[in-house]
């Protein structure tokens, strides 16, 4: 039985670039199902994505990146997906990197693969200094907690198998705004094998950011609290796994 691959793309006001991204994904993975979660966009994102051949799930209003992602993962899970790739719809994540991202999952070596922009072989745009520092600090923190070297814990470019997908879908308090380092930590804490592969990332070419400038101010304290929350809730499971 062939494996069922789903590409989940949360989108918010991305009608200028989403069609080209979907076409490139479909060129790379002709048999994959592309699911766009339209997070209450005010533009033509839904119709453009549908015309490009994606399945579109419309959220009734703008709910945030985390809710859009969880909707997409739930959709894929209920559709019986074996492998799920999550990527941004703003053109930042290069569809050409999907194959290397899937490789460890297909081989059964890993349950969750992170596309890193900070590995030596990665091809990345020039990440702004502040963002790079924050990302490095988070990666260092997670490396210390998990004991596994992680370089890019804020990446949304990920690939997971069904087991990890189920873990995320059944997670009651799925991070609403910051499904980044805390979600990776949750995966590790619940026994998932996580690895990183170098990927190509471009500068955001899309419209409005799903995170927003003002909300970004609260990103670090929120994420830090979320990490503490995961640690408090799942540290006993980690001990059980080890």
């Amino acid at each position: 039985m062939p494996e069922s691959v789903y590409v989940v793309m949360p989108a918010f006001n991305e009608d200028r670039v989403i069609a080209s991204i979907i076409h490139r994904v479909r060129e790379t993975l002709p048999d994959a199902h592309v699911v766009v979660i339209n997070d209450g966009s005010g533009d033509q994102t839904a119709s453009v994505a549908t015309a490009a051949g994606a399945r579109v799930v419309n959220l009734p209003f703008n709910c945030g990146y985390g809710v859009a992602l969880q909707t997409g993962l739930t959709y894929a899970f209920r559709a019986g997906a074996d492998i799920v790739i999550t990527m941004d719809s703003d053109g930042q994540h290069d569809p050409g990197s999907i194959e290397p991202l899937m490789k460890p999952v297909r081989k059964g070596e890993s349950d969750l693969v992170l596309g890193s922009r900070y590995l030596p072989q990665s091809v990345s745009y020039r990440v702004p200094a502040l963002r790079r520092i924050v990302s490095r600090c988070l990666s260092l923190l997670l490396t210390l907690i998990t004991g596994q070297r992680l370089t890019d814990t804020t990446t949304g470019f990920q690939c997971m198998n069904r087991k990890t997908l189920e873990r995320f879908v059944t997670l009651k308090d799925f991070p609403e705004k910051t499904p980044d380092a805390d979600l990776i930590l949750y995966a590790v804490m619940t026994g998932a094998r996580v690895c990183e592969v170098p990927v190509t990332m471009h500068e955001d070419r899309g419209g409005e950011s799903m995170h927003g400038a003002f909300k970004s101010m609260f990103y670090i304290p929120k994420l830090f609290t979320a990490i503490v929350s995961v640690l408090l809730q799942y540290s006993h499971q980690k001990r059980g796994n080890v």
Partner: protein, 141 residues
């Protein structure tokens, strides 16, 4: 002259002037009536209404027996009774904020779940059989 000045100066410590007592009584009664009116129109939850009723009743009680709080303050070692009111207000407000934050978190979580389910009901995944299969797998696990 403010409500606080009414009871001070020439009067004894702890004494609340009749004007202030009337004002506090009217405020308490108003809060109770407003809560009951909202409850009747079903525009206020029973739990929230009971909180406002309790606060309104406390106002009325204080207007009727102002010396009670004074005695309580002296009994607690607080020499200046209005401080007890201040502490009481701060504690109640903090408790209210904690309660509302808890309720908000709960409602937010439920709203998120409903939104996801609504979106997936409107755009169901293509393979219902796969859904049944995956749920059966999850049940077995």
């Amino acid at each position: 002259m403010t409500i606080f000045q009414l009871g001070s100066g020439t009067t004894a410590i702890g004494h609340v002037a009749p004007e202030a007592r009337v004002l506090i009584f009217v405020c308490g009664l108003g809060l109770c009536l407003w809560s009951l009116l909202k409850l009747r129109r079903r525009s206020l939850l029973v739990a929230t209404c009971s909180l406002f009723l309790a606060v309104g009743s406390a106002f009325i009680f204080f207007a009727a027996f102002p010396e009670f709080v004074d005695r309580l303050a002296y009994f607690s070692g607080i020499t200046y009774p209005p401080v007890l009111y201040l502490i009481g207000c701060v504690v109640i407000l903090v408790l209210m904020i904690i309660h509302l934050a808890f309720r908000l978190s709960l409602i937010d979580e439920r709203c998120r779940r409903i939104t996801i389910e609504l979106a997936l009901l409107r755009h169901p995944p293509p393979d219902a059989a796969a859904l049944a299969q995956s749920e059966a797998r999850a049940d077995r696990a």
